[in-house]
């Protein structure tokens, strides 16, 4: 399972969280989504055979949120 951490521009409305959460959970290969409202970060666990971190970042961008950085962590092999 690959882990991606997206740093977003500051989130201000709690409903943004639900939006991002809902949209990402529907993506293929996504196992777990955690939106950190105060840190304005999204942590996603997904299957990298099915999806990519950049594609997931694009989903968030399409919702209208700024994605400042994408960090991908491969599981230890």
């Amino acid at each position: 399972m690959t882990k991606a951490i997206l740093q977003l521009g500051a989130l201000t409305c709690p409903s943004c969280m639900q939006k991002i959460q809902g949209a990402l959970e529907k993506q293929a290969g996504v196992e777990k989504v955690k939106v950190l409202f105060n840190a304005s970060k999204v942590k996603i666990e997904f299957d990298d055979a099915v999806n990519t971190a950049d594609a997931l970042a694009q989903v968030v961008k399409n919702l209208g949120y700024e994605v400042q950085s994408v960090k991908v962590k491969q599981p230890a092999k």
Binding site: S15, K19, L36, F37, A39, G64
Partner: protein
């Protein structure tokens, strides 16, 4: 289409200001009697300000969320339909302006984590095999790499010093900006700053595994870990917003008053209620993080504020956990010479009491290293007998003295008894068959514990309990010294757990304070587990609250902060509910309409944020 939406969202601020200007022009038009100017300006203002709100509402709907934006959008479109252009313009403007202020003020409450994350190192100077240095992204440094840090630089990894020495500022990890000397073999933390010197450090932990990264992650997670109150409000808001929508429709149908129906939509926005509780916790937890207190979430804040019984481990928690010379009774003419003899002999043994004495002698600047020991005889269970400079030296317990036919005088006997009554271990030093010194060695109580425990009682702790594996005499002495209410000695770790359980069963709300290493079971059993411990992994993982500097003032701060945060949350909920009630009454009596309703709403949101911001500056009273 996507492009258009992004452009709009990016320029929300510009849109807000434009709509403000248009509203001003509209009022100007009204003042000069130009109906045309008035209408055009307000229509334009409504359209441009409503666009981002409607986009957000649609986006939310796509993921099946009925948000505040939807309520506002419907209300605005409704107002537009019945040609109340000034209402729709002002409502949309206030909504956008409110969000703008909200973002600005929220950023303030989040400042403490932000400064924390900004302290995270980004690059490292990695020493290559051939001695050259390559600047590397911290994420690409591997364990085992050697990293160079120069004066003013930041340590990018957790590791051990392999070359050089220097003074480190460990404020980012411990919260205390005191310079600490680091030499070869010492461990250093990522995020700390080298004030002076040059260090080569071998990386033992890198990236997200470093203590600093874990602290940051913990605080970030903590600020989003919700309290009961927040969870309840989240649930409430989930049904509340759609309920308002249904209510508005019902009102519209029954009263046949379209205006009233859309007003209900605006007034029903759950603004301050949704943001009130989380914002208090964010500010409170942020304050803690800045002051060396890591609190794992709103839930912990809630529970901690209710704690009435504090249970302490003794060794390493109330005391420093290492033995020191606590008292020295001297009967010799030259105190330093006798101390030097004792220190010299002890420096050759590995007895734990010995280390305390040599350390003490070094602190007193007594030179003992160059003394020549001619014979040296260790007598098991008694002490050491040796010859230095033609003096016969005995260092040990009373048995050793009796074995050498040395009698303690009455005064010496009393001193010995007194020392033992304080729980100290004693070492008797005799030179040439004459008793010269009695040295008391004990585990020293941490600084200012007594004052801080008193401060805790003042804040609402009813009972202080000490559990220890140590003997009864020492335990009682420490308890008496500190004003502890209840003591249980000679306990094994599992006995401590039993006591914690008993206290809980008796209906006490129990927090256990330990050093986080051997007390994990008790820490886990208590309602709140508090770990003393400058940045150990175990402490960070097993406990609910971590006191980074192991100081009791942090404990007082944490407790006071928890109480203040809970009170603050309560105030915010009252403000939020009060606002809704106030608006409802205003609506019934016909004082409140859409624009004024929106104004009160946005104002109440700012009030709760400002109220929460007071927590950022909170400082616990009492001893430092």
């Amino acid at each position: 289409m996507m492009k258009f939406e992004q452009v709009i969202q990016k320029n929300v601020n510009a849109i807000t200001w434009t709509s403000a200007a248009l509203i001003a022009i509209g009022f100007l038009g009204e003042a000069v009697g130009s109906q045309m100017l008035y209408t055009v300006a307000f229509v334009l203002a409504s359209i441009i300000a409503a666009t981002p709100i409607i986009i957000r509402a649609v986006e939310a709907l796509k993921v099946r969320v009925i948000g505040i934006e939807l309520l506002v959008s419907i209300a605005v479109i409704g107002a537009f339909v019945i040609q109340e252009f000034n209402e729709s313009a002002i409502v949309t403007f206030l909504f956008l302006f409110g969000s703008f202020l909200e973002a600005k003020t929220l950023a303030k409450t989040r400042e403490s984590i932000k400064t924390l994350t900004e302290m995270a190192p980004t690059t490292a100077e990695v020493v290559q095999g051939d001695g050259s240095i390559v600047e590397t992204d911290v994420d690409d440094v591997d364990e085992g790499d050697i990293v160079l840090v120069k004066t003013g630089g930041q340590v990018p990894i957790d590791g051990d010093v392999v070359e050089g020495s220097g003074y480190l500022n460990e404020a980012s990890v411990t919260g205390e900006s005191k310079l600490v000397t680091k030499q070869v073999g010492d461990g250093v933390f990522s995020g700390t700053i080298l004030d002076n010197g040059t260090l080569k450090i071998k990386a033992t932990k890198v990236g997200d595994d470093t203590t600093f990264a874990k602290i940051v992650e913990l605080v970030e997670d903590a600020q989003d870990t919700k309290s009961h109150a927040e969870k309840f409000i989240d649930q409430f808001a989930k049904y509340y917003t759609p309920a308002v929508l249904i209510l508005a429709i019902l009102v519209g149908f029954i009263s046949r008053d379209f205006r009233l129906a859309i007003t209900v939509l605006v007034l029903g926005c759950p603004g301050a209620l949704v943001i009130g509780a989380p914002v208090s916790n964010v500010a409170g937890i942020g304050n803690g993080a800045k002051n060396g207190v890591l609190i794992k979430g709103g839930e912990v804040v809630d529970t901690f504020a209710k704690i009435d019984t504090l249970v302490f481990d003794k060794t390493g928690t109330l005391t420093k956990g290492n033995t020191e010379v606590s008292d020295l009774k001297n009967y010799a003419d030259d105190q330093n010479q006798v101390l030097a003899f004792a220190a010299k002999l002890e420096s050759q043994s590995d007895h734990p009491l010995g280390k305390a004495i040599t350390t003490y002698a070094t602190q007193q600047k007594v030179a003992f290293q160059n003394l020549q020991v001619t014979t040296n005889n260790t007598i098991k269970g008694q002490g050491i007998e040796a010859q230095i400079d033609q003096h016969q030296i005995l260092v040990g317990n009373q048995k050793l003295m009796t074995a050498n036919q040395i009698q303690l005088t009455e005064a010496e006997e009393t001193d010995l008894k007194n020392l033992q009554a304080t729980g100290s271990s004693t070492v008797i030093v005799a030179v040439d068959h004459k008793i010269q010194q009695i040295i008391g060695v004990s585990d020293v109580i941490r600084d200012n514990v007594k004052e801080n425990l008193a401060a805790l009682k003042q804040l609402g702790i009813k009972k202080l309990v000490m559990l220890t594996g140590d003997n009864e005499i020492t335990a009682n002495h420490v308890a008496q010294e500190l004003g502890i209410d209840e003591v249980h000695a000679n306990l094994l770790p599992e006995n401590k757990v039993t006591f914690v359980k008993q206290l809980k069963d008796q209906g006490h709300k129990v927090a256990f304070v330990g050093d986080g290493i051997n007390d994990s079971p008790s820490i886990a059993t208590a309602d709140i587990g508090i770990a003393m411990g400058g940045g150990t992994d175990v402490a960070i993982e097993t406990s609910d609250i971590v006191l980074m500097q192991s100081s009791f003032h942090e404990l007082v701060h944490a407790y006071g902060l928890a109480k203040k945060t809970v009170a603050n949350t309560r105030q915010n909920i009252i403000i939020a509910i009060g606002t809704v009630v106030f608006l409802l009454i205003g609506l019934i009596f016909g004082y409140i309409y859409m624009a004024s309703g929106m104004f009160v709403h946005e104002a109440s949101i700012l009030v709760v944020i400002f109220n929460a911001m007071r927590l950022i500056r909170y400082h616990a009273a009492g001893a430092k």
